[in-house]
Homo-oligomer: 314 residues x 2
C-alpha cells in the first residue's frame, strides 16, 4: 500500500515546492509529496506541453506550467529533475526568478558537473543543495512514477563546502519523509561511487546488448529466444532512457573511464584463467561474488526471491 | 498454478526415467514429470546422500539412490543433470549398466564437450541425445526446483549427425510436455549462441562484482548501499553456483574467449566515444539496444513490468 510511506504531515515541510521536469523522478516526488502533505503547493514545470497536460490529468500537482520563470517564482524549494546535460541552461533561465532564501536542489545522477554548471548562475542568498536519489526503473515519463519509488532507497546529498546547514537539513527531511535514507558525501566521491555501482554497469549492459545485436554468426532472433540464460538481465538497464544516459557519461567522464579501466584489467585476468584452464581462480572469484549479493539482500536493497521474483505462474 | 502445465498424460512417455543429479534442474524435471505423468517410474540418482534424503522427503521420485549403476539399470531414458565437468566420469561409470535401446541425455550448458566426453564410453545400441534447457535461477539444489521452470522457455537439442530420429523425438516430446519449446541445432552452434546469451553475461557479471569488491576508493559497504543504481541487477547471476560456472568456462573456452574478444573491441569504441565526448555515438547505441528488450518481452522471455516486477509494496 502506498500509505505505508506514513501518514500525511500536519504541517508541510515546504510551503511552495517547484519541480522542474516531471518524468519518472519528478512525478514520483510529486506523488510522494502529495501523499504525505510535504508541500503546501506543488508546482510542476516541464518544457513539454504534453507532459504538463498529463500531469494535470493525473492530478499530481497543484499548478503546472511550461514557463520555468513563472514556475519557480516564490518557490521555497526548487528541484531540477531533468537530464544532467540541461542544468546550466535551466539554472541560467530561472536564476532571476529565484527568491532570496530559496533552496535549489536536483536529482541528477552526476554531482560534480551539476555544481559546476549551476554555481555560476546562482543568485546571492539562494542555497544550493545537490541531491541524488539512488532509485529508479528503466521507464521514463510522468506515468512511470510512483509514490514509493524512494522508500528504503538511499538519497545522497553533496552540499558544497560552506553550505547552509538549515538548507541541507530541509532537503534531507524531505527525502526522509519520502522514505529514503539520507547520506552526505562530497560530489567527487559520489561520482566515483556511482561510476562503479551504476554508470559502468549501465555502460557494460548497453555494450553487451549492442555486441550481441551485431554478431553475424548468431542472429538477433536467437539472442532473443535464448535470452533467459542470463542475457535478459542485462537488457533491463540497457532499455533506460538514452538522453539521460548519454548525459551521464558525458558529465562523469573521468570516473567512468577510470572504473572501466579497472574492469578491463580484471577481464584480462579472467580471460587468461579461462585460456589456461585455471579452474581454481574461476571458482575463487565465483565464490567471492556471492557475499556481495547476500549483503545487498540483507540490507533490503534487493528481493531474496530467485529470478528477482519474476512471476512463475500466471 | 502449476497445473497450467497441462493435465497428466494417460500413458507415460517413458516407462523408467533415471535422473542423475537432483539439483535445480534435475529436481525440476522430477517435479514436472511427476505432475504430468511423463514417466512410469522416476529414479533419482545423486552422489550426495543428503540430496537423496531430501528427495525422499519431498517425494519427487519413486526410487532414490546414491548408486549410479543401480540407478540407471533398466532405464529407458537417463538424463545427466550434473555440472559439465562430470560427464566423462559418470558416463564411464554407468555405461555397463545402460540397457540396449536406452537413450542417454543431459541438461548441460555446454554441448560440444558433453558429446566429446560421453561418446568414448557410449555402449553400442544406446542413443545419445544431448539437451540444454535454457531456463534457470541463481539457486541450486533440490529445494530450488519447481515444476514450471521450463514452461515457455527453450530447450535446445544437439543430436550428433546420424542420430536415431525416434530417440530425438522422444526427448523432444518430454521437453514439450514440460512446457518447453524445442529447437535443434549443432553442438558447435549451440556453444556459440550460449556464449553470447549466457556465458559471457555471467562472466561479465562475476567480473564487475569482483572489481567492485576490490576497490580501495569505494568501500564494499557503499557498493551494497547504492546498488539500486544498476549494480544489483548484475549480482543476481553472479550469485549462481561456482562449480557449475567454473565447468562451463573450462568447457566452452573457445567460444567464450571469441565472444569476449568482440565485447572488448566494442568497449574500446565506447570508451573512446566517452573520452571524446561523442554524444551522438552514445545516444545511437543506447537507442538501438531498446529494440532487443522489446523483442524479448514480446516473445514471452521476460516480464514487461518495470524492475523485473520486483515488489514495490510489501
Ligand atoms: N531514471 C532513473 O532511474 C533516475 C534515478 C536517479 C536519478 N535520475 C536523474 O533524475 C533526472 C531525471 O530523470 P528521469 O528519469 O525522471 O527523466 P525523464 O523521465 O526522462 O523526465 C525528464 C523530464 O524533464 C523534461 N525536461 C528536460 N529538459 C528540460 C528543461 N530544460 N526544462 C524543463 N523540463 C525539461 C523532459 O522533457 P523532454 O522530454 O522534452 O526532454 C522530461 O519530461 C536525471 O538527471 C537523471 O539522471 C534518474
Ligand atoms: N542452474 C541453471 O540455471 C542451469 C540452467 C540450464 C542448464 N543447467 C545445467 O544443468 C546441470 C545441472 O545444474 P543444476 O543447476 O541443476 O546443478 P545443482 O543444483 O548444483 O545440482 C547438481 C547435483 O548433481 C550432483 N552431482 C554432481 N556430480 C555428480 C555425480 N558425478 N554423480 C551424481 N550426482 C552428482 C550434485 O551433488 P554435489 O553437490 O555432491 O556435487 C548436485 O546434487 C549443469 O550441467 C548445468 O550446466 C543449469
Amino acid at each position: 500500500m502506498p500509505d505505508r510511506l506514513g501518514p500525511p504531515l500536519d504541517t508541510p515541510l515546504v510551503s511552495r515546492l517547484a519541480l522542474v521536469g516531471l518524468g519518472l523522478i519528478g512525478s514520483s516526488i510529486a506523488r510522494a509529496a502529495r501523499l504525505r502533505n510535504l508541500a503546501g503547493t506543488i508546482v510542476a514545470v516541464d518544457r513539454d506541453p504534453a507532459v504538463i497536460r498529463r500531469v494535470e490529468e493525473l492530478g499530481i500537482a497543484d499548478e503546472a506550467t511550461t514557463d520555468p520563470t513563472a514556475g519557480v517564482r516564490d518557490a521555497d524549494l526548487v528541484i531540477l529533475c531533468i537530464p544532467v546535460g540541461g542544468f546550466a541552461a535551466v539554472a541560467k533561465a530561472i536564476a532571476p526568478a529565484l527568491k532570496p532564501g530559496a533552496i535549489l536542489s536536483d536529482t541528477g545522477s552526476v554531482k560534480k558537473s551539476m555544481i559546476e554548471q549551476v554555481t555560476p548562475h546562482l543568485p546571492e542568498g539562494v542555497h544550493l543543495v545537490p541531491a541524488h536519489p539512488v532509485a529508479g526503473t528503466e521507464h521514463s515519463g510522468p506515468d512511470a512514477g510512483f509514490a514509493t519509488l524512494f522508500r528504503d532507497r538511499w538519497c545522497i546529498l553533496t552540499p558544497p563546502e560552506g553550505s547552509d546547514p538549515e538548507a541541507v537539513a530541509k532537503v534531507a527531511a524531505l527525502w526522509s519523509a519520502m522514505g529514503a535514507n539520507v547520506e552526505v558525501m562530497t560530489a567527487e566521491h559520489h561520482d566515483l561511487v556511482l561510476a562503479i555501482t551504476s554508470h559502468v554497469p549501465h555502460l557494460i549492459a548497453y555494450n553487451i546488448v549492442g555486441t550481441a545485436a551485431d554478431l553475424e554468426e548468431v542472429t538477433q532472433g536467437e539472442v532473443i529466444k535464448f535470452s533467459a540464460g542470463g542475457f535478459r538481465d542485462f537488457t533491463r538497464i540497457a532499455a533506460s532512457d538514452p538522453t539521460m544516459w548519454r548525459d551521464i557519461f558525458l558529465h562523469n567522464k573521468e570516473a567512468v573511464l577510470e572504473m572501466l579501466g579497472r574492469l578491463n584489467e580484471d577481464i584480462a585476468i579472467l580471460a587468461r584463467a579461462i585460456r589456461w584452464g585455471d579452474g581454481d581462480a574461476l571458482f575463487d572469484l565465483f565464490t567471492r561474488t556471492r557475499a556481495i549479493r547476500r549483503g545487498i539482500i540483507s540490507q533490503g536493497q534487493e528481493t531474496p526471491e530467485p529470478d528477482f521474483g519474476r512471476r512463475r505462474e500466471e
